[in-house]
């Protein structure tokens, strides 16, 4: 589904990504971990087609970035720690707007928006302005927005940031149930600092350290307690080297 080969990105003379190789199969849930400054954000921006790689090859669903970004973008749904929504529009208007932008066929648009609102449990607040929503509700709407066009790949950029315990639990639920993660319909890449949640959701873990993949492996090969140790070793090992 996603194939990354010796990806390099430099800002001026500073290399942020120094040759990343990564392969994500269809239906995998990859937890993308790494300390701040390890190049996680840059990596995601490249996958989203918002930044161009300096060198290397990135294939998403068989389409190459940055040459075929339109096709790539259509298969991507993004949930970020920023809401990516308009405060002064209602939940429904927000979704309708993005449905148009993603070219959801006019005939299905209304239905699709209502199904999504229902699935994230916001159908009663469809006509309310987003400004009046709590952080958790905004995040739910953001998930609905990301899934509107039924993308094959879901990118979650620190989705737990700023959520309280209840909202985070609800997000857990939404990720497994609504986003179709359990059924393996969608390929998911999630960046997070929360190792527990990473272990809980992910099928695979990749740890980025100083612009390179320091560790890659399936979660089935480790126990919950092992992941923090592996993380510390990978990150620590690279910094002292």
């Amino acid at each position: 589904m996603i194939e990354i080969e010796s990806l390099v990105k430099t800002f001026g003379y500073f290399p942020v990504l120094r040759g990343v190789d990564l392969k994500v199969e269809r239906g995998q849930f990859l937890a993308f971990l790494g300390p701040n400054g390890s190049g996680k954000t840059t990596m995601l921006r490249i996958l989203q087609g918002l930044a161009k790689p300096t060198s290397g090859r990135v294939l998403i669903g068989g389409w190459e970035i940055p040459k075929e970004t339109f096709a790539v973008r259509q298969q991507l749904g993004v949930v970020s720690h920023l809401p990516l929504l308009y405060d002064s529009l209602t939940a429904e208007e927000n979704l309708l707007f993005f449905a148009r932008l993603y070219d959801v066929p006019a005939a299905e648009r209304g239905d699709r928006v209502h199904t999504m609102l229902q699935q994230v449990g916001l159908d009663k607040r469809a006509k309310s302005v987003v400004q009046t929503f709590s952080r958790g509700m905004v995040q739910r709407l953001a998930i609905a927005r990301a899934l509107l066009h039924d993308p094959a790949i879901l990118l979650l950029d620190e989705p737990y940031t700023g959520l309280d315990v209840d909202a985070a639990a609800l997000l857990d639920h939404l990720l497994t149930e609504v986003a179709g993660v359990k059924d393996g319909i969608r390929t998911v890449i999630m960046t997070t600092h929360d190792l527990g949640r990473a272990y809980q959701h992910a099928t695979h873990v990749a740890i980025l350290s100083r612009g390179k993949i320091g560790y890659y492996g399936p979660t089935s090969a480790m126990t919950t307690d092992e992941l923090p140790r592996i993380y510390a070793e990978t990150v620590g090992m690279m910094t002292t080297a």
């Binding site: 068989g62 259509q74 970020s80 929504l85 932008l101």
Partner: protein, 245 residues
Amino acid sequence: MSATTTTPETTSTTQPKKRRLRTPYFQVVASLAWKDLRAEARGREMVNAMLLFSIMAVLIFSFALELDRQAQEATVGGVLWVTIAFAGTLGLGRSLAAEKDKGSLDALLLAPVERSALFYGKMIGNFLFTLAVGFLLVFLLTVLFNVNLFRPVLWLIIVLGCLGFATTGTLVASMSVHARAREMLLPILLLPVILPIIISATRASTALLTELKTEDWLPWIQLLVVVDFVFLLAGFFLFDFIVEE
């Protein structure tokens, strides 16, 4: 997966239908403009601020320049365009800051849409808000300066001037939102660049209002049309480079 990119996997999961690769141009422009108008119709934060600012500016002008009738005719064009430029700058900064701060600019860029369509969509919103200021000023200046501004040719000049202003303004403001002191930087970046528009619009308005011959204001309107066209084209080519890394 093979190295060739000509045979991509079928990626749609629950929707087997073939989709268009990118959203139609006009659909993007229209929905973006609709979105801005809808949001503004609800909050009215931006338009209210712009209108209030222009009322205050005109009042200050009319106090500061206590003029006789003839001088009023000669000055009113300048007052009109200076006020439009400043009130418009106020609105522009807000319009693009609103997109950037909530990350919604990224959301727009994530969609499979042409960048220039986003530009024109944003520009239409800004154009209509600036135009609202322009037409409020027509009433206001007619009353306060006692010069009749209800003239179709003047309205044409206002439409052309606001169009040029909104085009250039959207382009420059989409750069200045990324800067540290963006509120300060926007007018500094914008005013030198929109000068061709402001000069020709002011000249045309003044020539028209002081009852000069057609030859005296027509060239300015022609120049305005040319400049508008150039900036609309510049937006088409340059906006890509502003948003794409």
